[in-house]
Symmetry: C2
Subunit: 168 residues, 2 copies
């Protein structure tokens, strides 16, 4: 199967474009919620362009053999802050919308705090049939770049970054 090798600088540019889309949409939000660990790097780069605080949630959906588990599981959740999400406008960020299961799980958990608004921004969306769905309360769904359903090799996972960048 053909893979996508993506460079840091390509991803940085995609996120700059994504930030531009978010600003152009008129969607205003108070806080970025990053889904870890995949969303940490995209959220931190988006912060450069959007300048909002980041909260994180840790979700794991793949076991140590990289196989999806029955359901996503919380590694870390938002503590005293969770009450502060009530009435807030949230931008939820992850690196990739693959099966949509993790996204749906996070969105439903966040919606239980009754935020005023919620939008989603993903660095990449894989064009494929989704097993999860976006709850109807989601007002915006922003995608940095649409990709076919192939394996994505992110630069932060590279054992050898020079080799990785040579494959881009």
């Amino acid at each position: 199967m053909e893979k996508y090798y993506l460079s840091y600088s390509e991803i940085h540019k995609t996120l700059k474009k994504l930030a531009g889309q978010i600003k152009a949409s008129g969607f205003e939000f108070d806080v970025i919620v990053a889904i870890g660990t995949g969303g940490f790097i995209p959220a931190r780069i988006l912060k450069t362009f959007l300048n909002k605080p980041i909260l994180t949630v840790g979700i794991t959906y793949y076991d140590s053999n990289n196989q999806p588990m029955e359901a996503p599981r919380k590694v870390q959740w938002i503590d005293e802050v969770e009450k502060r999400l009530t009435g807030k406008k949230i931008l939820l960020v992850d690196e990739v919308d693959d099966s949509r299961v993790t996204l749906e799980y996070c969105l439903r958990e966040l919606l239980s705090y009754n935020p005023e608004k919620i939008g989603v921004a993903v660095l990449h969306n894989k064009r494929k049939e989704k097993r999860g769905t976006l709850p109807e309360q989601v007002e915006h769904y922003f995608v940095g770049r649409e990709l076919a359903d192939r394996w994505i090799c992110y630069p932060w996972d590279a054992e050898d970054i020079d080799l990785h960048e040579s494959m881009v």
Copy 2:
């Protein structure tokens, strides 16, 4: 003042080297605690080489004018997980050891949960007089790269990544 412009790929290599130092030291740990937002990207790249879960804490020490505040302030802390830190071995990760105030603050907070061991890994250390101190319980202090006391321009803060990379 001369500034350091650092590329993603240089930083990725520094973190690979840092991970090698940590492994070679024999320091074993259960969990990475990343100080956000600066530590998010270093911690996520370190995870590629160290393969441990990441928890995050959000600390802010600079106001909107980039001036240090009186004391660091929590943006997010560790919730139900905090009890799980008791008896655990922690590697605390941040991007830069500058004044050491944020590091000391985080270390003292984490030590209050009585972890079994705690070590620190920073991508960069600035060689300068420190206002904070490392508590004596800190068993290891790992540095990816030592730098003089200059402004560090991280690639994730670049408005224009091509321009940034051309300055490296």
